[in-house]
């Protein structure tokens, strides 16, 4: 199965992936607010997160994730589209967004537009 591997250290925060994703899912429009990948930032680092399945309840088991000594106590690294998160939803309708790997077989446009090597497609 194809998977998108994310190398946080390489991400430059350019958001070209967000532009690519929206352009390939909405007829003729570039709109990062409707992208299935979003790039969050904390401190000096950028964290691309790819939208996973929708959950209709906010989770009750919040965890703290530590990445290279940096703590993430909110929902930043969670892939779910959930009721309390303002991302991974259509801005107007609130319809949840989920990555579909740009079709079958996977043809991720975000990977194609990522020049830094932060996103790569791997088979496993």
């Amino acid at each position: 199965m194809a998977r998108i591997k994310i190398d946080y250290a390489k991400c430059t925060g350019c958001r070209h992936c967000e532009a690519a994703c929206s352009l390939s899912h909405i007829e003729g429009i570039v709109n990062p607010k409707r992208s299935r990948i979003r790039v969050f930032s904390k401190g000096d680092a950028f964290y691309p997160v790819i939208a996973g399945p929708f959950t209709d309840a906010k989770c009750t088991s919040k965890v703290t994730v530590t990445v290279e000594g940096r703590e993430f106590d909110e929902c930043m690294l969670c892939r779910a589209s959930c009721p309390i998160k303002p991302v991974f939803k259509e801005p107007d309708s609130g319809i949840p967004l989920k990555c579909d790997q740009c079709g079958e077989p996977a043809d991720p446009q975000c990977v194609k537009w990522c020049a830094s090597g932060a996103l790569t497609l791997i088979e496993e």
Binding site: C14, L23, I29, V30, D44, C114, A115, S116
Partner: protein, 613 residues
């Protein structure tokens, strides 16, 4: 079907505190593209070139290009246009970051600010919801503090994916003529436009947009960008392992030194002993660079996040760029890397142009060494190479403290104030960037003829001219090269792209992106003709503002005092060999005034009657 333009301009009257949304004139953008071209046209039509740049009659125009926010590689730029308080000529400066794209996503190609607010305000745009909000509590705050406070106020807690802010720091508030407009550490730096923003009591603009940008031919645009990204990804200079990505713009340091094109000790020489030692980009990468960063949709990512730890110079922020290293460093004779980076951080926080600030400090250092500024006036030892004083001066300029009150007016006015205007180095009262006008003849011609004063980006000549690759000291053929480079830069600046990828995209690549995004189906010569039209339009503004042939020059020392070192040793700028030919190529008469035929060919003869020269 879309055309990559948002289709709307927001006009804000700060005196009355109201605004209206106007339809974008599509005939106008076919002729002036957007960005710098459109902004310059609006300025020419709406502002008398003789107004006081810091008075309410001046207008401040933020304007994006058609490729801003489209996903075109480096399509991130917004241009700020106004009459410049530094030069008195047309002023324009652009910035990367994310704000330009966000403005398009909110549904606006640009914003025109008119008048002056009674109290400090900031403009908040959330798609169709517009509001002028009080900003007295933000007055005096640094650029990053302002950014954070506004984002907190507007409820953007979601990790910076929501609202984008562009603001002025203390320097802009205090009307420094070398102040820069900042957006998340990216600067619209040159020509002092932050002072225009300050004069209008406008602290910031904050934008959130959810509408997106609609393209004409999205399918082939997407495929084309993917192809271009492939080229960037493995490019030796611009790719993921390329010098621009790995070292940032500082990668050019050794080249500049070998070419003898550095601005050493206020341009007294062209080589600098520390350029390949203390200021080596590899050393910087190992000691101060935290990471690289890219503007919206940029495959290059030349920006740096840095950290300094040297005692007295501790800090954290963004930069330095090549220009910052050269002007706060080499031009001031300073070889202390961490001090230079720290001074760059302060400039970002104060909202200062690092080029103009560096040259102004260097100019003061020369005045001091010549005995024209006393210890008492300087408030410190202001000798070349004095890292502590250089850093301290950036703070003083930002806050207009002590002698900083004078330096905040820029190098020309500083030199004049101390009775020696001949010490100033630049053109049209704007400080010269880090490429010597004496060894690089084309660059010198570019400085002399640039509509916004000494500017290295108005005609990108250095890559043609560094002796290692080209022919810097030759004048033959330069007028034609400069003319072409000026028009290409005008196109790039008007499309909303960064200048850096031009060498990879080439004009053909830019044309393709432009056509697929807009659906205009221009031929290359139409696009380049728009560049020429934009150049001449700016020229008309300057002529009406009282500029003449006599202003198409650089400081006399560049023309008279031979360069003492480096491969271009013995050279002066031989402007006289190039200027007449340049005028001729431009279709201007010997006084540098565009001929009636030229204006007619460019469609600039229908200037509104109030704006006849």
């Amino acid at each position: 079907m879309g055309n990559a333009y948002a289709g709307q301009i927001l006009r804000v009257n700060l005196t009355k505190g109201d605004w209206k949304v106007e339809e974008l004139d599509m005939d106008l953008v076919r002729r002036f593209i957007g960005g710098r071209g459109l902004g310059g046209k609006i300025l020419f039509d709406e502002v008398d070139p003789n107004v006081d740049p810091l008075g309410p009659e001046n207008k401040l125009i933020f304007v994006t290009g058609p490729l801003t926010g489209t996903g075109a590689p480096t399509g991130c730029r917004y241009m700020v246009v106004a009459k410049s308080p530094l030069t008195g000529a047309i002023g324009y400066a652009n910035s990367g970051g994310y704000l330009g794209a966000e403005l398009k996503f909110a549904g606006y190609d640009g914003i025109i600010f008119e008048g002056k607010s009674e109290k400090p305000v900031y403009l908040s745009i959330d798609d169709d919801e517009i509001e002028l909000k009080p900003a007295s509590h933000l007055w005096g705050k640094s650029s990053t503090e302002t950014d954070e406070l506004i984002k907190a106020e507007l409820g953007d807690q979601w990790r910076g994916v929501d609202t984008r802010v562009s603001c002025i720091g203390p320097a802009g508030e205090k009307l420094s003529r070398i102040a820069a407009i900042m957006t998340e550490n990216s600067a619209a730096a040159r020509t002092g436009l932050a002072a225009v923003m300050g004069s209008k009591n406008l602290k910031a603009i904050a934008v959130r947009g959810t509408k997106g940008v609609r393209l004409a031919d999205a399918e082939s645009f997407r495929a084309k960008v993917a192809e271009q990204v492939d080229v960037f990804r493995d490019h030796p200079a611009y790719g993921q392992f390329g010098t621009m990505h790995v070292y940032g713009t500082a990668a050019g340091m050794a080249l500049g030194n070998v070419a003898g094109a550095l601005p050493t000790r206020h341009f007294s020489g062209g080589t600098f002993e520390a350029a390949e030692a203390e200021l080596d980009p590899q050393l910087m990468r190992e000691t101060t660079t935290v990471r690289q960063k890219g503007c919206f949709a940029c495959p290059i990512a030349c920006k740096r996040v840095s950290k300094t730890t040297a005692p007295g110079f501790e800090g954290h922020g963004e930069g330095p760029e090549f220009e910052t290293l050269c002007l706060l460093g080499i031009c001031c004779g300073v070889n202390n890397l961490q001090a230079i980076i720290k001074a760059g951080f302060i400039c970002n926080e104060m909202g200062l142009d690092t080029i103009s600030t560096g040259v102004t400090i260097a100019c003061a250092m020369e005045l001091y060494e010549r005995g024209y500024i006393t210890d008492a006036e300087a408030g410190c030892k202001l000798n070349f190479g004095n890292a502590e004083s250089m850093v301290e001066m950036t703070r003083k300029i930002g806050l207009r403290e002590g002698i900083g009150d004078i330096l905040a007016e820029g190098a020309y006015r500083t030199a004049e104030k101390f009775g020696h205007p001949e010490v100033f180095i630049g053109a049209k009262k704007m400080e010269m960037p880090a490429h010597h006008a004496r060894g690089l003849q084309g660059m010198g011609l570019g400085y002399a003829t640039s509509n916004r004063g000494a500017c290295h980006n108005s005609a990108m000549m250095s890559s043609h001219e560094f002796p290692a690759i080209g022919t810097g000291t030759v004048t033959k053929g330069k007028p034609q090269m400069v003319k072409h480079a000026q028009e290409l830069a005008a196109v790039v600046d008007s499309c909303g792209l960064c200048l850096f990828p031009t060498g990879v995209l080439m004009q053909e690549g830019i044309l393709l992106l432009f056509n697929e995004a807009t659906g205009f189906n221009f031929e290359l010569k139409e696009l380049m003709l728009a560049g020429e039209r934009i150049w001449n339009q700016e020229r008309l503004f300057n002529l009406k503002a009282g500029f003449t042939k006599a202003d198409d020059t650089v400081s006399r020392r560049m023309l008279e005092e031979p360069l003492p070192d480096g491969p271009a040793e013995g050279n002066v700028l031989r402007l006289g060999e190039m200027l007449p030919e340049y005028y001729q190529l431009r279709g201007w008469n010997e006084d540098g005034i565009p001929s009636a035929e030229k204006l007619a060919a460019l469609g600039l003869d229908h200037v509104k009657s109030s704006n006849k020269i």
